[in-house]
Amino acid sequence: MTKSFMPGVIAIALLAAWPHAQQPTPPQTPQQPSELSTTITGEGGIAPRLAIPEFIALSTDAETVATAKTIGQVLWDDLNFEREFAFIPRDVYSSVPKATSFADVPFDRWRELNADGLIVGTVQKVSVGFKVELRLFNVRTRQSAFARGYDGANARLFAHTMSDELHKSQRALNGVARSKLTFDSDRDGERMSGTVQERSIKEIYICDYDGENQKRVTVGKTLNIAPRWSPDGRSIAYTSYRRGGANLFISNIFQGTLDEVTKGDKVGENWLPAWSPDGTKLAFSSTRDGNPEIYVVNRDGSGLRRITNHPNIDITPTWSPSGTQIAFTSDRSGSPQIYVVGADGLNLSKKTSEVYADRPTWSPAPFNEIAFAAKSGPGFDIRVLDLSTGATKAITFGEGTNESPAFSPNGRHIVFTSTRSGKAQVFTVSRDGKNVRQITRAGNNEKPDWSK
């Protein structure tokens, strides 16, 4: 195996379609001892400038050439998404001679273009899939700051894995390139039968963080809404009307099995499950005791605990990252506002004084924030409340109505629903309100969540 020829380089199997969920953590790559620095830095404290020329296809067959092209482009998009690097514009790359291997990289020319770092990759066709070698060179020292080999077949997954590892090694950042989104959608135009009027059903879908690989994961022929990723990324909890009323279901999407969390005639309506950070429990809202209250239940439906007790509406729970608190929406003050309560039901406090606020989503650590949708005129905008300072900042600014925020696993992005382009669609945005990307386009797509 060629693996052994490359000290410090290991191969990671990328053949599995779901590496984020299934792949064991790869052994840490020992950094190459010959290098003084393994991090590319920019001059004067600015973001390092990277160039990512097209990956080098080591054979001329169409499949290898296409894979090489895709990896380079997707890696560029993935790295650009976190905005940790600046990029030498692609339109000047053509002025630099193309390398044919790691041995003939024209560093002088890249230096002339002010590149701090240069990503060079080779793609080699093997019996099953491809073997891809990646190097990040410090253009000034011409030394490799990062080198790794990958085996696999999925071009986009090569790039996503590289991006996450480059962010980790170069910027100490947990990238989100292998994370996934989930949302509900009526895009298939299927109809419910036996109802008063024609009604479109909604089903649960998943996709990559960048909107690629959109897949349907439920076949309920009814309303399946408000999906939430389990912390291990293997299950999705959601609200389903397949039993007539609203109940909590869990789809184990890699086993194709379905768990019914709330069952029976006496359970009332059950909405909006939210996973505890350890994945063992769900917080949700239920009318089983007469009006919507917040409850916590084990994921198998056992161990029900009531958290709130108020004649007004309590709905839309979300857990703090430590699992010790739950934020939710209540209209006990006269309008829907965000409240926080201990997971034991004690120490309730009101957190917002908006006209109308709903769908709190607690950020992951180290941020201590709650994102929510706030009425801001005719529609809603996404706002983020900093729990330590009490300050609220706007993330969206009145383009369409904006609802249902959820944080990316590193807390640097928010996925949400917006009508800014017409129908309700899923968008992502950076936590500073910039870098808005439209994820979905077909039908209405709503109530998204981001894998953990």
Partner: protein, 193 residues
């Protein structure tokens, strides 16, 4: 030759028209209808007279209201398409039944008392101006409000199930006040009869 033929045709046509005109002026005199033809039965040798058949006697069949009724003869789907139970509409962010709604609900109660076998699901719906999540609870509040009214009218709560669809199923897909007013509603779906 051609001219002669066409003149002949013309004359023939005129003669026909005159005839038609005359017949209109002098309608045929109505004559008594010919006697009915002698039927084969009477022509054959007479049989002994049949005893009176009681089934032919006009008998009073007791009316079966459930069968005679246009409403109850329909299938569930057809029934729900005609919405015999009328929906009620709510003010923004409200689950209170207005006087007009109360009148509608009284009519619904009368119908439900007449068709005692009906089981009904009361659906609560919202317009799109609230959030998807909170609207699930608001729609439930509307459905419960409608059910409470019917229970107060003496109907059994067991027949009246509630479900909220929030803003997932707008009645009118528009985005104006008229559409919103139609979407803030409680709908009555007959689920068994």
């Amino acid at each position: 030759m051609k001219a002669v033929r066409s003149i002949a045709t013309l004359i023939a046509a005129m003669a026909l028209m005159t005839a038609v005109a005359c017949s209109k002026k002098n309608p045929p005199i109505a004559r008594p209808a010919p006697p009915p033809p002698v039927t084969a039965t009477t022509a054959t040798p007479p049989r002994p007279p049949a005893p009176p058949e009681p089934v032919r006697e006009p008998t009073v069949v007791p009316p079966e209201p459930l069968r005679d009724d246009a409403i109850s003869s329909k299938s569930l789907d057809d029934l729900n398409k005609t919405s015999p139970l009328k929906p009620v509409f709510f003010e923004l962010d409200s689950s209170d039944l207005s006087p007009a709604n109360q009148k509608t609900m009284e009519e619904n109660a009368v119908l439900l008392k007449r068709y005692l076998t009906w089981a009904v699901t009361i659906e609560g719906h919202c317009d799109e101006r609230g959030t998807a999540e909170y609207n699930l609870a608001l729609g439930e509040r509307r459905a419960v409000s409608a059910r409470a009214y019917l229970v107060a009218q003496g109907l059994s709560a067991d027949r009246l199930r509630t479900v909220s669809y929030g803003k997932e199923f707008p009645f009118d897909p528009g985005h104006d006040d008229a559409a919103f007013a139609k979407n803030r509603r409680a709908h009555f779906v007959i689920t068994a009869k």
